[in-house]
């Protein structure tokens, strides 16, 4: 496609958060590509999606694909894309493409955005929409050979009881029945045609072959072999399996095999009511449950048009920033585990983590599964003495430990040798792969959702966005340390400004009414941009509930980072992404 439009002058770019304006721009080059426009989204013709995406990417600088998901409507499927510009920031625009119910097909965006690879595979896996032109369209969370598409509305999981909670049998109807007896297994489990469990063999696993010229491997005559790292391996941070093709000791390609911890979080979310989802978000990235709560709650509050009181906002920020500090110190510790500094740095960091988790426990009732935020406020106010303890931590301990950790670890020559110029992810690749958080900033992209699209009250605080230079492991590591300092800065300001007063807007209610609509809400989690795409049809349960898991999408760039480095580096590179499998597999 030839687009001969000159690039837009920078001052006109700010208006591109409005779909109407973007639609006008698209119409100038592709007159019949836009089917319809609403204040929320653009509906694009499927046949011209790729051209539109290319135009948006090249001419309007929408260089970042936040999120790809799909919605199952009774008469059609809808694939939803959220795009932002790294330079402009602001809220993402939403593109939608409709696909027929029978044999749904949509062109793949992988030629424009590398980040579409994993996300489209997820959509294909969960919803059965084929992406034409996708280089490797296979299941990603379920196994190859699984029958059915779990996120379609007609799919019923094993132990299915009812379409929506609350289940009718629970109140005034019957007695307790154990889960195994509630729904016989064979009722709703489908097998492929002619399936025989005893003689079943999984399809042969192939690996993409990369030509040897791309690599400057040794002159030794080596064969490419496929080795399997994980899923049960202490260095993979959970049940992550890496199908690795190596040439000698050099990594040729890595394919993360996911889904060992898959529990169909999104389907559970659609069965739940809005309120019931909050404790489930704790279990996504279990290191950062407070931040997950916050991201989900602000998304639904956007739909409900609800604003929490000041004190609640401040407590939310304090909790989220403490979480960030805890998550980063644990990430650094585990990262050194991968390097071979066996547990000592981790244990040093865990001391402060322990104190912060004790504070979380005192406030919310649980150390890790906090379930602390509610729509329009918090579950309860913080206990007496909580803020004094946080103040003491923030003034005395956290800065000291951050400095000590840096002095302790960063000068170490072994660390420098292993981390510098290893696992390099260049700036344009980091953006193209839709990486987020410290991985993105490590590659030198000054992008933080807290600044680009400020949520909660982050626009009131003074803080910097640390960035790396070249995007190697060292940069990601240093970005994390710098972010811990920024968190302390935010915490100091928040503790100074925190007002008294209510912690809840309106009365506490378990029957949440969410008006019709759809929303993509996001927050800067320690691991990256955690997004929720929610479609509400006005009923007590979300019609569609999608989680944009940062660690999942960051893993998509692993192959790019690890190519050409040694197997031992692969472990460290993977550690520097800081994956948490609870979030990756959902």
């Amino acid at each position: 496609m030839a687009v001969n439009q000159p690039p837009m002058p920078p001052e006109t770019k700010t208006k591109y958060n409005d779909p109407q304006v973007v639609a006008e721009q698209i119409k100038t080059v592709l007159p019949d590509a836009v089917e319809s426009v609403s204040p929320q989204a653009l509906v694009i013709k499927g046949s011209q999606l790729l051209e539109v995406a290319r135009y948006l990417h090249d001419q309007l600088a929408f260089d970042y694909l936040n999120n790809v998901t799909s919605v199952d409507y009774p008469d059609h499927f809808e694939v939803v894309y959220n795009l932002t510009s790294m330079d402009r920031g602001g809220a993402p625009i939403t593109l939608k493409v409709n696909a027929a119910r029978e044999n749904p097909t949509v062109p793949s965006l992988t030629p424009v955005y590398h980040g579409a690879n994993f996300q489209e595979r997820e959509v294909y896996d969960m919803m059965g929409i084929r992406f034409e032109g996708h280089p490797y369209l296979r299941r990603i969370l379920m196994w190859e050979g699984f029958e059915g598409y779990p996120l379609r509305k007609d799919y019923k999981e094993p132990y299915w009881e009812d379409d929506h909670k609350p289940f009718g049998t629970r109140w005034d109807k019957g007695h307790h029945v154990i889960a195994e007896d509630r729904n016989p297994w064979h009722d709703n489990v489908r097998y492929p045609a002619n399936f025989d469990a005893l003689s079943y063999k999984p399809p042969r696993e192939e690996y993409p072959v990369v030509s040897a010229q791309q690599l400057t491997a040794s002159r030794l005559l080596t064969d490419k072999i496929l080795i399997n790292i994980g899923p049960q391996h202490p260095s993979t941070h959970g049940v992550l399996r890496l199908k690795t093709v190596i040439d000698g000791e050099t990594v040729v390609s890595v394919e993360p095999v996911l889904g060992y911890l898959h529990r169909n979080h999104e389907k559970i979310g659609e069965r739940n009511t809005y309120l019931q989802n909050i404790p489930y978000t704790d279990r996504l990235d279990y290191f950062t449950s407070m931040a997950n709560n916050l991201a989900y709650v602000i998304t639904v509050e956007k739909l409900m048009n609800l604003k929490p009181p000041e004190r609640a906002e401040y407590i939310r920020v304090i909790m989220a920033e403490l979480t960030r500090w805890v998550s980063h110190i644990a990430a650094l510790g585990f990262f050194f585990n991968d390097l071979g500094a066996f547990y000592t740095p981790l244990i040093y960091g865990l001391e402060e983590r322990e104190l912060i988790l004790d504070l979380f426990e005192a406030a919310s009732g649980s150390r890790m599964m906090c379930n602390y935020m509610r729509f329009g406020g918090l579950a309860r106010d913080v206990p007496d003495g909580f803020l004094d303890k946080v103040q003491y931590l923030v003034d005395e301990r956290l800065p000291r430990v951050t400095d000590e950790m840096e002095a302790y670890l960063v000068g170490n020559e072994i660390f420098l040798a292993r981390a510098r110029n290893v696992g390099v992810l260049p700036r344009d690749m980091a953006i193209s792969y839709s990486t987020a958080g410290p991985v993105l900033r490590g590659s030198g992209v000054k992008y933080d959702v807290r600044r680009a699209e400020p949520y909660s009250i982050y626009d009131r605080f003074e803080f910097d966005i640390p960035t790396g230079r070249i995007g190697d492991i060292y940069d990601r590591f240093m970005v994390r340390i710098a972010e811990m300092r920024e968190s302390i800065k935010i915490l100091k300001q928040a503790l100074q400004q925190i007002p008294g007063g209510e912690i809840m807007t309106g009365k506490k209610n378990y029957q949440i009414r969410v008006p019709k609509g759809e929303v993509y809400g996001r927050a800067e989690n320690p691991k990256g941009e955690l997004g929720f795409y929610i479609v509400s049809d006005g009923s007590p349960n979300p019609y569609r509930y999608h989680v944009r898991a940062p660690a999942f999408i960051n893993l998509g760039a692993l192959n790019e980072m690890a190519k050409g480095f040694k197997v031992a580096d692969l472990i460290v590179i993977q550690g520097s992404i800081d994956v948490v499998m609870g979030e990756v597999d959902r």
């Binding site: 019931q276 004790d358 379930n371 020559e413």
Partner: protein, 215 residues
Amino acid sequence: MAFGLGMLNGLRYTMSRIIKTYIGDLRHLGRPYDPKEFARRQSVKGDGIITVQYPEEKLPVPENFRFVPFLVYEPKLDENGKPLIDPATGKEVVGYERCTACGICAKVCPPQCIWIVRGSTPDGKPKPQPAEFYIDIDVCMNCGYCAEFCPFDAIKMDHNYELADYERHVGHIHDIKRLMKSTTYYAQIHPQDWAREEADRKAKEAAKAKKQTTT
């Protein structure tokens, strides 16, 4: 900089940690498990967290700690206003159950682990009391919604986290008998909540009494 200096610099920190632990041990010599000292070391002002010898020792849990709900009942009082104790079981005699079988806890429960059957009077009319109340604690995710949204303060979160059992089909299905705990126990584990709720209740009752006298 010569190779290795950075490493040595880092190891200085490790060394100082080692020395600090010995200094700490000397400071706590002879009283490592003194409760006051113990609490200080576990606090934000402590230096180095000490290992707790569970199950011989336990850390105190904060009041908001939540683990598996229980039902609250008001004990029957004797003439002195003290709760009557059943000599057979050693438990306080049930005065009345706070639960009215409204079913909000069962509806709000995210994993749907609460089953309630409403009670009925001998002539078949429904009465506001549960006939049966089950919580499957294997399914319970300890979110605390039931306690948060109960309008009668009848279901609360417990502090007892030692619920391991040899089997799950009987021992992990808590029925109404096992779930019932008296307000004395509740006041003991949730002193602040209890004081606040009692004050609210008294204020409400006073307002009600005032209304009745004026009308």
